[in-house]
Symmetry: C2
DNA sequence: TTTTTTTGTGCAAACGAATGCACATCTTTT
DNA sequence: AAAAGATGTGCATTCGTTTGCACAAAAAAA
């Protein structure tokens, strides 16, 4: 009863709904006179087109679904901000889903988004996902899908990823150039491409610099709890250890605490490097050297790509992959380069 | 062309769309036989009701709009996670908007959400908002509105807030009990109720404990840049200063850095307390005493309240206010209580 | 003046689902 | 056997738009 419709305007001005509809969209067949009349009436009576009806009729809509595995998370919230900005500037809305690293919730999120008839989906996979039927269903429903960061290798679709390999390679090589010789890698499950690529970057940097690759120094350690268990063991078992390259900033920060409380100095005795460049890197003591992932840009690029697909501006058949460059950000937890 | 409709089912089974519609919703007037027939056909052909059409016809929908001022932000992302969980469990979707502390974007967000015909809106105000017409418009459109955390005092509607006053009071009193005598407050603009309430809690705790309230120790200092400028000045001008109570954890963390580099020990010489209990409180050195705001619970409570309004389960006329309790979390940046 | 073209409107049928009402058919009651 | 009730379906309309097509009225050309 509150919202006024095209019909109401038509009745009030003694016109037909079709004329009003056309007048509102500046259809050339409508006289300037009626057009002005209609638009003025619409303006003063605060007419708002009913998006639902419009979408139903035209069978196209401007809502994009987003699935993130975690939201209380510097990187993903940054990506979301980027997605939001790009989407908003192109007139798209965002339907937000949160899988919370849970496969079942991820599947439900997909259902929700398909039910809501979104025109495209941006997704980053949860850690626990090992089946991909739900993602395939998106494609089977002719809904565009772009993966970002945690891509799903089982599905052939567009993706935007960070250059994890290069990020890891550069970080590790930098530590080597500062004199580190035995560098541990605190990684994540190798089934995740991002983790695997970083491990490969780490190993290649060692090899390239003629350092041994010791499998014992490469661990799955992607949570605070695991860090508390693993880092002390590593320190004890290997007295020559002089650096940690970590899968994310949190693990790196906790690693630093443990290393410090074990009596080592950072970076003089042991160097530590994180991944992401979240704000915690500024408040640790010393500040934490890290690899910036440019999450905001990733979000924008992913949204851009999806929208281009939706609007038919990106016509390349097959898979489009975008690579976001990483950047080593030197702070206080690594040493100066040895001349 | 991919999605099958009620009509399609009707045609295939030689029934009318109305019968199919009723069969799908287990309408009692439909025979068990037809019902089974229809539901089986729907199942095997992956029928998905068109939400748009349904919403258009019934004039009710299950999408809630959310406006947050910042998303790369521990507290707000936590609240969002809470909102998401509650909404999802009740079958509601979330349309996500991000004002980025910008009034104009906030206004646009409201427009977007009203255009999308959401059934309710959860909002937290941006720092730069001083006019409230856009919020009033939500109410004028008969859309339910619940504010959380950064409420808008100019609008009469339901709200969920943290008990900022008690949080501040308890934190400051605790520092007094540990022997602190001159406590500075690094606050935010007093036009924000949350900032003002914390200041009042701070001042009352001083008064109650017979300590002087020195306006000079109470500053607007809610960003890192301001902290860099203000904290050193305070330290220089007041050699008796022995504590900082800060508006958020970031400011507190930077404050600690400055205090430490000025040669003071924390907490022996100077105590520091933050607000939020974000993960940075665990990685500073020492760890940071803080006031937990229970963001996740706030999100759940706010969503719950909004949904109750939408579904008519909360019938109280006038404004419903929910208060989320805060909790002092003692870590390493404050001393033990003096016996 | 008649025919043709232009110009502006309106009609009606979609889009996919929900629903009040009418109507057959079958069962039960009188 | 006739009337009344119960049971299951279908018709038609509605939600608010969009859009192909027809069609008046006015302007231009013949």
């Amino acid at each position: 009863m509150s919202q006024i419709t095209l019909k109401d305007i038509a009745k009030a001005l003694n016109l037909s709904p079709s004329t009003v509809s056309r007048a509102m969209k500046n259809h050339p067949a409508i006289s300037a006179e009626t057009r002005a009349l209609v638009q003025e009436y619409a303006e003063t009576h605060k007419y708002k087109p009913n998006t639902l009806a419009m979408q139903l009729r035209t069978n196209r809509n401007t809502t994009i679904g987003v699935i993130v595995p975690e939201i209380v998370h510097y990187f993903f919230s940054t990506v979301l901000a980027g997605i939001q900005q790009e989407a908003e500037s192109e007139g798209y809305n965002l339907l937000f889903c949160h899988s919370n690293e849970d496969y079942a919730r991820e599947v439900r999120s997909v259902e929700t988004l398909l039910d809501a008839r979104v025109c495209g989906i941006l997704a980053s996979q949860s850690k626990t996902t090992e089946k991909f039927d739900h993602f395939q269903e998106i494609i089977d429903n002719d809904v565009h899908l772009v993966f970002f960061d945690r891509i799903c290798t089982g599905i052939n679709t567009d993706k935007v990823v960070v250059d994890d390999y290069a990020g890891a390679y550069n970080a590790v090589e930098h530590m080597i150039h500062t004199g580190c010789q035995r560098i541990a890698f605190l990684g994540s499950t190798p089934s995740m491409p991002i983790a695997n690529n970083r491990r490969m970057g780490y190993e290649d940097a060692l090899r390239k610099n003629k350092l041994p690759v010791d499998k014992n120094l490469s661990r799955i350690c992607d949570t605070v709890d695991l860090a508390r268990e693993i880092v002390p063991k590593l320190l004890k078992s290997d007295s020559l250890l002089d650096a940690f390259f970590c899968i994310n900033d949190e693990v790196a920060a906790y690693c630093m605490q443990i290393v410090k409380s074990a009596g080592y100095r950072i970076p003089e005795d042991i160097s530590v490097c994180g991944f992401t460049n979240s704000y915690i890197t500024e408040v640790t003591d010393p500040t934490l050297t890290t690899v910036d992932q440019h999450g905001f840009e990733m979000g924008k690029v992913a949204a851009r790509l999806l929208i281009n697909r939706i609007e038919g501006k990106e016509t390349k058949p097959g898979v489009v992959s975008r690579l976001i460059k990483t950047e080593l950000v030197l702070k206080g937890s690594t040493r100066e380069v040895v001349q």
